[in-house]
C-alpha cells in the first residue's frame, strides 16, 4: 500500500515537473519599437498603447477579429437587446474574475463606463468627447442586467460597446489604490494606469513604463485559456536593434519593420514577414478657412495633381493601399470604394487652377520631419507633383502642430480608424464638431450638418449609407482632405510562429489570445 502511494506521489511529482517544464518553454518574446508610458484602456487613444490592451482586457461586446467587417460575439455581455432606439440592455456574464482575484460584477461594468461618461478626470473627459459623446447613462437593472441609455437614437451600440475605451476595469481595486477607498479620485486612475488589472486571458505581471511589459496566463479567465504561460514584451527602439534581436533569436516577433527593410528577414530561411494594410490613412489636409485657400477649385486642383499610385509604388513598394474614398473595408456594409471621391487627373488640375485664377502664390506645406513613416519623402514628392501642374510649393518642415494655425495652408497628417464605422474614422476628424472644425480649419455648412446628423443617428442602414455618400460628395466638391494611402505595417517573426495582424482589430493590436497564435516546438 505504502509502496503504491509512494509510487503515485513520485509519478505525480514527475508529471507536474514535466508539465511545468513544458509550460515554462511556452514563453513568447516580443520586441516592440515603443512601450506605453502607462496602461489604461479607458483613457488611451494611442498607437503605442493599443498594441497591449486586447490581451489583458475584455469589452462588453466581442468581435471576430479574423474578419474585416464587424461580426459581434459575446464578451463580458452574453446577450443584448436594443429595447428602443436610445436604449440597450445587456446580460452580464457570471463567474468572471479579475486578475487580482476579485469577482467581476455589474457594479464594475457600470463603474467602467461611468468613469468616462461622468468624468471627473480630464483624460477621460477627452475620451467621452471623441468616443462616447452620445452615451447619457449606464445603470445596473439587477445583478445580471445592465441598461445603457443614449441621448440621441444610437445605431452604433454594438460598435461602441466593443471599443477599447469601454473595456471593463475593477471598481473596488481602483478606488482602493490611493486616498479614500470608497471614492474614485483622479490619483486612483493615475495609479491604476501603472498597475493595470483586467479580466482578459493574460494578466500584466510586470509593467515598467516605456521599457517592458510581462504578461502571464490568467488561469481564472472565463474563455479559452491563453496559449502562453508568459509573454515578455521588450522595447527595442532602433530598427537595427530589432532586426538583430530577431536574427539572434533573442525575440520571436518584432514590430514596425519599414517596407524597405523586409529583405533581411524574408531572405532568412528561419524567419518570415507578415503584414497588413493598416486601417489608417496618411492624409494631406487643407485649411479651408485660410482666405488664400478659400477657393474650392484650388483645393480640388491640388488633390487632382497628386499621383498617389506613384507614391505607393515609390515609398511603399506598392504594398500600401490607395483609397478611392474615405472608407475602410472594416466598415462592412458602409464600405463604399465605389465612390470616386479622390482621383488623379493632372489635366483637370491644370484646368481648375486656371478657373480658380491661380497666380503662382506659393502653397506652404507643413510636415514634421520624422513623425510619419515616409511623411517627409511624400511631401517632397507632392512638391514635385504640384510643380508639374504649375503650383509653387514652400515645404515647411516643422515640429509644431499647425492644424489650428490660421496661416496654415496644407499639411501632412493622419486619420486613424478608432472604431469600425465611418463615424470612428472620418467622423472623429471631419464631423461638424470634430477635430478639424474645432481647430478652425474646416467649417460645415447647414447641408453638411443635416447629412451628418442623418448619417450618424439614423437607425436605417440604407439611409446612413446614402447620407455618407452625400458627405463624400460634399468633401469632393469642397475638399478639406486627401487621403494618400493606408500604410502597410510589417512584422518580422520566426518561421515557426503562426501569427499575423488581424483585420478585425483597430491598428497595431498584438492579439496573443487562444487560436490567434501558436509557436511550433523545435
Amino acid at each position: 500500500m505504502l509502496k503504491t502511494l509512494l509510487k503515485t506521489a513520485l509519478a505525480t511529482a514527475l508529471a507536474s515537473t514535466a508539465l511545468t517544464g513544458l509550460a515554462a518553454a511556452q514563453e513568447l518574446k516580443v520586441g516592440v519599437q515603443n512601450m506605453a508610458p502607462w496602461l489604461d484602456p479607458g483613457r488611451d487613444f494611442s498607437n503605442v498603447g493599443s498594441q497591449f490592451y486586447f490581451n489583458a482586457f475584455d469589452p462588453l461586446i466581442g468581435k471576430d477579429p479574423s474578419k474585416a467587417e464587424s461580426v459581434w460575439q459575446p464578451g463580458i455581455a452574453t446577450s443584448w437587446t436594443q429595447v428602443s432606439p436610445t436604449t440597450i440592455e445587456l446580460k452580464i456574464r457570471q463567474g468572471v474574475t479579475f486578475h487580482n482575484g476579485d469577482p467581476m460584477t455589474a457594479e464594475d461594468v457600470v463603474f467602467s463606463f461611468d468613469r468616462i461618461i461622468n468624468s471627473t478626470f480630464p483624460p477621460y473627459t477627452v475620451r467621452k468627447r471623441d468616443t462616447l459623446p452620445n452615451m447619457a447613462k449606464i445603470e445596473a437593472v439587477d445583478a445580471e442586467t445592465i441598461r445603457i441609455t443614449a441621448t440621441k437614437p444610437e445605431p452604433l451600440f454594438e460598435t461602441l460597446l466593443n471599443v477599447q475605451q469601454g473595456m471593463i476595469v475593477p471598481k473596488k481595486y481602483i478606488m482602493a489604490l490611493t486616498g479614500d477607498p470608497n471614492v474614485a479620485e483622479p490619483s486612483d486612475f493615475e495609479a491604476f494606469a501603472l498597475k493595470p488589472v483586467g479580466t482578459g486571458p493574460y494578466k500584466i505581471s510586470e509593467f515598467i513604463p516605456n521599457q517592458r511589459l510581462v504578461y502571464e496566463r490568467h488561469d481564472g479567465f472565463w474563455g479559452e485559456k491563453a496559449p502562453f504561460q508568459k509573454v515578455t514584451v521588450q522595447r527595442i527602439p532602433e530598427l537595427s536593434g530589432r532586426l538583430t534581436a530577431l536574427k539572434n533569436a533573442e525575440v520571436d516577433l518584432v514590430t514596425n519593420i519599414p517596407p524597405d527593410q523586409l529583405d533581411p528577414i524574408a531572405s532568412d530561411a528561419k524567419l518570415k514577414v507578415e503584414g497588413m494594410q493598416t486601417p489608417l490613412f496618411h492624409v494631406v489636409i487643407f485649411n479651408t478657412q485660410n482666405p488664400k485657400m478659400a477657393n474650392p477649385k484650388l483645393r480640388q486642383a491640388l488633390s487632382y495633381a497628386i499621383d498617389r499610385k506613384t507614391l505607393n509604388e515609390a515609398l511603399w513598394y506598392g504594398k500600401a493601399k490607395v483609397p478611392t474614398s474615405h472608407t475602410f473595408a472594416q466598415f462592412g456594409p458602409l464600405y463604399m470604394p465605389e465612390l470616386a471621391t479622390f482621383e488623379y487627373d493632372p489635366a483637370k488640375a491644370r484646368a481648375l487652377l486656371k478657373e480658380a485664377g491661380y497666380d503662382g502664390m506659393p502653397i506652404r506645406y507643413d510636415i514634421q520631419a520624422a513623425y510619419y513613416t515616409n511623411g517627409l519623402l511624400a511631401a517632397q514628392a507632392i512638391q514635385e507633383m504640384w510643380g508639374a501642374v504649375g503650383v509653387k510649393t514652400q515645404l515647411n518642415v516643422t515640429e509644431q502642430w499647425t492644424g489650428s494655425d490660421p496661416t496654415m495652408m496644407a499639411r501632412g497628417w493622419s486619420n486613424p480608424m478608432y472604431f469600425p464605422d465611418p463615424a470612428g474614422a472620418f467622423g472623429i476628424m471631419w464631423a461638424p464638431t470634430g477635430n478639424s472644425a474645432s481647430e478652425g480649419r474646416f467649417k460645415a455648412d447647414d447641408a453638411y450638418i443635416a447629412l451628418w446628423e442623418k448619417f450618424r443617428f439614423s437607425t436605417d442602414l440604407a439611409e446612413r449609407k446614402q447620407a455618407y455618400a452625400g458627405l463624400m460628395q460634399a468633401i469632393k466638391n469642397d475638399p478639406p482632405v486627401l487621403p494618400l494611402y493606408q500604410p502597410y505595417e510589417s512584422y518580422g517573426m520566426k518561421r515557426s510562429l503562426a501569427w499575423r495582424p488581424l483585420p478585425g482589430h483597430i491598428p497595431y493590436v498584438l492579439d496573443f489570445r487562444a487560436g490567434r497564435i501558436t509557436l511550433a516546438a523545435r
Binding site: P37, N47, P209, T244, E250, N415, P416, G434
Partner: protein
C-alpha cells in the same frame, strides 16, 4: 581651503541655475508637448483640457516660479508622459547607466594605460606605431558606427552575443566596448605623451643609476608621475562619456538615463528633461570640483590662485 571651496560652491550654484534656466526656456520655445503626447484627432476643447491637466496653461513665469519652489522643497514633479515622480523614473534607470559607465571606465583604464606605456616604450618601432594606429582608429570611429558594426558581427551574423537590453553580463560586452573605444584611444595617447615626457626626466636617470630593475623604474617612478595629467584628462572626458552613453544606450535598447533623456527631448517631457539636465550637470560639475580639489591638495599654487 575652505575659502577656496566656498568660492567654488557659489560658482557651482550659479552654473546650475543658468543651465537649468536655459533648458527650461529653450524647451518651451520649441512647442507644446501635447503634439507628441496625444494622438492625432484631439479637438480644441480637449486640447485645452489636457494642457491644463499638465499645468502647461500657466504663464511661463508662473511655471518657472513653481518649478524652483518645488525643486527647493525636494519635489521634482511628475513626468508628463509617465505621470510618475521624475525622481522614481530616474532611480529606476540609474543603475543601468551607472553600471555601464563604471564598466566603461574600468575597461578604459585597464586597456588605455598599458597601451600608452607600451607605445611610449616602443617609440620609433613598428609595433609602437601599430598601437598608435589602432588607437587612432578607436579615436576616429563614431561610437554609434562601432556599436552597429559590433551588432552586425557578433549578434546578427555570428549569434555569439545578445544585442538588446541589459539582462546578463554578456549584454554588457558590446556596449562597453563601443563606448570605451574612443576613451581607450584618448587615454592611450595621453599616457604615451605623459610617459615620454617623464622618461626623459633626471630622476629616471637617477633611478637607473641606482640600479633599480627596469619594471620598477617604469611603474613606480615613471607611471606615477605621468598619471597626474592623465587623471585630469579622464575627468574632463566625463561629459563626452555621458553624451556617448546617450547614443550607445539607444542602439543596444539599454534602458538607461541617456535613453530616457533622448525620449524626453523628442517628446518635450519638460519635467524629466529638466531633472535630467540638473542631474547630469551636477555630476559633471561635481567631478570638476573634485579634480580641482585634488589639484589644490597636490599643488599649493592652485590653492593660492583660487583664493
Amino acid at each position: 581651503m575652505l575659502e577656496f571651496l566656498g568660492g567654488r560652491m557659489l560658482r557651482m550654484a550659479i552654473t546650475l541655475w543658468a543651465i537649468v534656466s536655459v533648458v527650461f526656456i529653450a524647451t518651451r520655445l520649441t512647442g507644446n508637448p501635447i503634439d507628441f503626447l496625444m494622438p492625432d484627432g484631439l479637438d480644441a476643447a480637449s486640447r485645452r483640457e489636457m494642457i491644463a491637466y499638465w499645468g502647461l496653461d500657466r504663464s511661463l513665469l508662473e511655471q518657472y516660479g513653481r518649478f524652483w519652489r518645488s525643486l527647493l522643497s525636494g519635489d521634482f514633479g511628475l513626468g508628463l508622459m509617465e505621470r510618475r515622480p521624475v525622481a522614481t523614473i530616474f532611480t529606476e534607470r540609474l543603475w543601468q547607466s551607472a553600471s555601464l559607465l563604471l564598466a566603461t571606465l574600468a575597461l578604459t583604464i585597464a586597456v588605455g594605460v598599458p597601451t600608452g606605456i607600451l607605445a611610449a616604450l616602443w617609440r620609433g618601432q613598428a609595433r609602437g606605431s601599430g598601437l598608435l594606429f589602432i588607437a587612432f582608429l578607436g579615436y576616429a570611429i563614431p561610437n554609434f558606427v562601432l556599436a552597429i558594426l559590433l551588432l552586425l558581427v557578433f549578434s546578427y551574423t555570428l549569434h555569439w552575443l545578445p544585442s538588446a537590453g541589459s539582462a546578463s553580463l554578456a549584454h554588457y560586452l558590446m556596449p562597453t566596448v563601443a563606448l570605451s573605444a574612443y576613451f581607450v584611444a584618448a587615454l592611450a595617447r595621453y599616457t604615451r605623451n605623459a610617459m615620454l615626457d617623464v622618461l626623459c626626466e633626471d630622476y629616471m636617470r637617477t633611478a637607473r643609476a641606482k640600479g633599480l630593475p627596469e619594471r620598477e623604474i617604469i611603474l613606480r617612478h615613471g607611471l606615477r608621475n605621468a598619471l597626474i595629467p592623465v587623471i585630469t584628462v579622464l575627468g574632463l572626458q566625463m561629459t563626452t562619456l555621458v553624451s556617448g552613453a546617450v547614443v550607445v544606450e539607444t542602439v543596444f535598447a539599454w534602458n538607461g538615463i541617456g535613453d530616457l533623456l533622448v525620449g524626453a527631448t523628442l517628446r518635450r517631457d519638460y519635467p524629466v528633461l529638466q531633472f535630467g539636465v540638473l542631474v547630469v550637470a551636477s555630476a559633471v560639475i561635481l567631478v570638476n570640483l573634485l579634480i580641482d580639489m585634488a589639484y589644490a591638495l597636490v599643488d599649493p599654487r592652485v590653492r593660492l590662485a583660487g583664493s
